[in-house]
């Protein structure tokens, strides 16, 4: 074994090192994953300051009381499925859930962008927060229709959802699950 390591050519090991370096970068490049989390992104009082002067409605009252069981199933499928939004694969949507690959979307409507705990946001999203981006049904719709175009260099590496009906179902689901 010892002789094997001694006799191995340096260039062979160099190739292994290069391949490992590429492997280290790929989870970030493909999934937008980050190797560490930031415990607190913004203190609670600063988050409140970002929205206190805005006259935002209570988005959670907007959900239709007329929604049927079938509507609710469609909303869930739009959020969950691979063919729909694929949101569930990275995001959680319950109050007591920890942020996973991506921040929890519980009561996301009416919140400024990039304020969740335990998640390392991209600089571009933090910049958008500092410029006043608030998550509303309209801004979420615009973002998920074409994430890369709406916030260039963000870390949500998914294709936009082109179907407006699917986007609306997802927004309805965000409202209903946060009520």
């Amino acid at each position: 074994m010892r002789n094997y390591f001694i006799n191995a050519r340096a260039t062979h090991w160099l190739l292994v090192v290069i391949l490992f370096a590429i492997a280290c970068y790929l989870p970030y490049l493909i999934f937008g994953a980050f190797p560490f989390s930031t415990t607190v992104n913004l203190p609670e009082d600063k988050i409140e300051n970002l929205v206190k002067d805005l006259d935002l409605p209570n988005y959670y009252d907007l959900y239709s009381d007329q929604a049927t069981a079938e509507d609710k199933l469609l909303e869930k499928q739009a959020f969950d499925s691979w063919e729909g939004g694929k949101c569930r694969f990275c995001h959680s949507l319950r109050e007591d859930d920890r942020a996973r690959m991506a921040p929890s979307l519980y009561r996301i409507l009416g919140k400024p962008a990039a304020v969740g705990e335990n998640f390392t946001y991209s600089k571009s999203l933090i910049e958008m927060r500092n410029n006043g981006l608030i998550w509303t049904p309209e801004t979420i719709d615009a973002f998920i229709s074409d994430p890369e175009n709406y916030i260039p260099a963000n870390r949500m590496r998914v294709e936009g959802i082109k179907d407006p009906e699917t986007r609306q179902l997802i927004i309805n689901y965000l409202i209903r699950e946060s009520q």
């Binding site: 062979h12 090991w13 492997a23 190797p35 691979w82 690959m101 335990n118």
Partner: protein
């Protein structure tokens, strides 16, 4: 352990690792397409934990055997240097399986999925993020290694007229 028995055990372990790798590969390709919190997802995740642990155990055994019974170049036409290249990549493949397994155990541990002391809270989000990232890194690493081993095999076929489909040594 005599040499012949050691070689046979090495060969058997390699095949077991190959089979386990194929199972885990299809499992990890399928799991992201199943929504979280669904019963199917839980089953796939438990299956992943069991198969991944077995892959870790047999890869460790393979590396142990490798140290005492290293694979030999049995192909006369293949120069030693070219063989060493493949040899290193194959060795690193097993190392990456072990690293993948260890990072997987720590990911599951920091997620509260496995506990070594009952009733102990092991959930730690920062650890989960870091080990989850490493788990992903090693997955990409062994996929790249397999790709390069195949690439070198094709190159050896064209240049030295040596045929071998052996990826796992």
């Amino acid at each position: 352990m005599d040499n012949q028995f050691g070689q046979r055990l090495s060969s058997l372990t390699s095949w077991l690792v190959l089979i386990l790798f194929v199972i885990v590969f299809f499992n990890m390709s399928e799991t992201p397409r199943v929504p979280t919190e669904s019963p199917e997802r839980e089953i796939l995740r438990s299956f992943h934990l069991v198969m991944g642990s077995l892959l870790l155990v047999f890869s460790s055994l393979r590396v142990y055997l490798w140290m005492y019974f290293p694979p030999q170049n049995t192909q006369r036409l293949l120069p030693d240097q070219a063989y060493t290249q493949i040899h290193i990549l194959q060795f690193m493949l097993y190392i990456s399986f072990i690293a993948q397994g260890l990072s997987g155990i720590f990911t599951a541990w920091s997620d509260g999925l496995i506990q070594f002391l009952p009733g102990t809270d092991t959930v730690n989000h920062s650890l989960w993020v870091t080990f989850g990232y490493l788990h992903s890194v090693f997955a990409f690493f062994y996929l790249i290694l397999i790709f390069f081993i195949l690439l070198f095999r094709i190159y050896h076929l064209l240049k030295y007229r040596v045929i071998s489909i052996n990826i796992f040594a």
